[in-house]
C-alpha cells in the first residue's frame, strides 16, 4: 500500500520521526487493535489510535452512554446520552480519521466470544471496569498469544502495564485472583478524577504504538503507578510468577472462564459504574 498526498500530510509528524518514518506509519496503518470497553480508558485509547492512523480498531461495549459518563469518557458527547457506546465511539473515530476501519460489537466480552473476537487483532487494550473482565481479558490474550496493555483507575490513582504473553508477567502473575466483593471499591461510590482515565489511557495508546512499531522498551515486567494528588509516577518491578495458575510452570487454567463474583455489588439497575 502507498500513502496519498493527504495521508502523507496527515501523518507527517509521525513520518518525520526517524523511529517511525514511512515504514513505521505503514505498520501503524496495517495494525489492528482491539479495545475492550468504550469508556474512561477506551476513549483516549481509541481517539489517539484513530488519530495515529491505526488500520482497524475493534471496540466492544454493551452499555449505552449515560450522563454520568461524560465527565471522563471523552468519546461521548452530550447528544450521545442514551446511544450505544460503540456506535457513538465509531462516529467520533471516523470523524477524526476516515482512514480507520472500525469494527463494533455491542455486546459483553465473555468467555464464549473472547477468543473469536481478539484472534483477528494484533494487540488488545484492557479498558474495562471490573475484575472478572480484567482476568478474562488477560487469560484470553494468553491463549490467543496477543500482547495486552492493561490499565486500571480509581479515585486519583491509575496504573498501567503491558503484557507480552509467555514472555512477561501477566495480570494473574501479579494479582492472582479478583478481590472478594467490597474489599476494593470500583463502582460509583469510589469516584474517579476524569482526567486520570485520560492519562492512563494515553499511556496505553502509546504502549500499543510502541509494540506495533517495535521501538523503545515496552512497559513489561514493571507496573507504572500514577498518583494524581502528588503528580508522581512510580515504577514497581515485577516478573513472571512460576506459580502463576495461567502462565506458570504448572498451569491449572487450561480454558477460559469468568470469575463469577461481581465486584460492583452496589450497582443497582439504572446506575452506571465508575468506568
Amino acid at each position: 500500500m502507498s500513502f496519498t498526498e493527504d495521508q502523507i500530510t496527515r501523518y507527517s509528524r509521525h513520518i518525520l520521526l526517524p523511529e517511525v518514518g514511512g515504514k513505521g506509519q505503514k505498520k501503524i496503518s496495517q495494525a489492528k487493535v482491539f479495545v475492550v470497553g468504550a469508556g474512561g480508558l477506551g476513549s483516549p485509547v481509541a481517539l489517539y489510535l484513530a488519530a495515529a492512523g491505526i488500520g482497524t480498531i475493534g471496540l466492544i461495549d454493551s452499555d449505552v452512554v449515560d450522563m454520568s459518563n461524560l465527565q471522563r469518557q471523552v468519546l461521548h458527547h452530550t447528544p450521545d446520552v442514551g446511544r450505544s457506546k460503540v456506535l457513538s465511539a465509531k462516529a467520533k473515530i471516523q470523524a477524526i480519521n476516515p482512514d480507520v476501519k472500525v469494527e463494533t460489537h455491542e455486546a459483553r466480552f465473555t468467555a464464549e466470544n473472547a477468543l473469536e473476537l481478539i484472534t483477528p487483532y494484533d494487540i488488545v487494550i484492557d479498558g474495562v471496569d471490573n475484575f472478572p473482565a480484567k482476568f478474562l481479558i488477560n487469560d484470553a490474550c494468553y491463549f490467543a498469544d496477543k500482547p495486552l496493555v492493561h490499565g486500571g483507575i480509581l479515585r486519583f490513582e491509575g496504573r498501567v502495564f503491558s503484557i507480552i504473553p509467555k514472555k512477561s508477567a501477566c495480570y494473574r502473575c501479579i494479582f492472582k485472583e479478583p478481590p472478594p466483593p467490597g474489599l476494593v471499591p470500583s463502582c460509583q461510590e469510589a469516584g474517579i478524577i476524569g482526567v486520570v482515565a485520560g492519562i492512563i489511557g494515553t499511556i496505553q495508546a502509546t504502549e500499543a504504538l510502541k509494540i506495533i512499531l517495535g521501538i523503545g522498551q515496552p512497559l513489561t515486567d514493571r507496573i507504572l503507578d500514577f498518583d494524581a494528588q502528588k503528580t508522581a509516577f512510580r515504577e514497581i518491578k515485577t516478573k513472571r510468577n512460576p506459580k502463576c495458575k495461567l502462565c506458570g510452570d504448572n498451569p491449572e487454567i487450561t480454558k477460559l472462564f469468568e470469575h463469577e463474583q461481581e465486584v460492583c455489588q452496589l450497582r443497582t439497575p439504572g446506575t452506571v459504574g465508575v468506568t
Binding site: 469508556g39 474495562v128 475484575f131 490513582e157 479478583p178 478481590p179
Partner: protein, 93 residues
C-alpha cells in the same frame, strides 16, 4: 522508621493518608504495628490465616516480597514498603 505507601482503597483506614510511617523488623511485624495505629488494616491486607490476600502485593523498596522471603522479609530503617492491590476502572465492557 519505615515509610509505608497506602493504596487508594485502604486510605479510609489511615484517615485518607497515602503514606504513613511505621516500624517492624519484618513485613509481618510491620503489618501488626500498622494495625495498632490503624485498627482493621491487617484484616484488609491479610486473610483469616494471616496470609497476604491473593489480590494484594507487597513490595519492599519496589521488590515484590514473593520474590524475597514473603511476609518474613526483613525490614530496616529507611525502607519503603508499598501495598498494591488490584484496581479496576475503565468501562463496563
Amino acid at each position: 522508621m519505615i515509610t509505608v505507601r497506602i493504596p487508594t482503597p485502604l486510605r479510609p483506614m489511615t484517615g485518607g493518608k497515602g503514606e504513613v510511617e511505621a516500624t517492624g523488623g519484618s513485613v509481618l511485624e510491620l503489618i501488626d504495628h500498622l494495625n495498632g495505629a490503624h485498627p482493621g488494616l491487617k484484616d484488609r491486607i491479610c486473610d483469616e490465616q494471616g496470609e497476604v490476600r491473593r489480590f494484594i502485593n507487597i513490595y519492599v523498596n519496589e521488590e515484590d516480597i514473593r520474590f524475597l522471603t514473603g511476609k518474613e522479609t526483613p525490614l530496616k530503617d529507611g525502607d519503603e514498603v508499598s501495598i498494591v492491590p488490584a484496581i479496576a476502572g475503565g468501562s463496563h465492557g
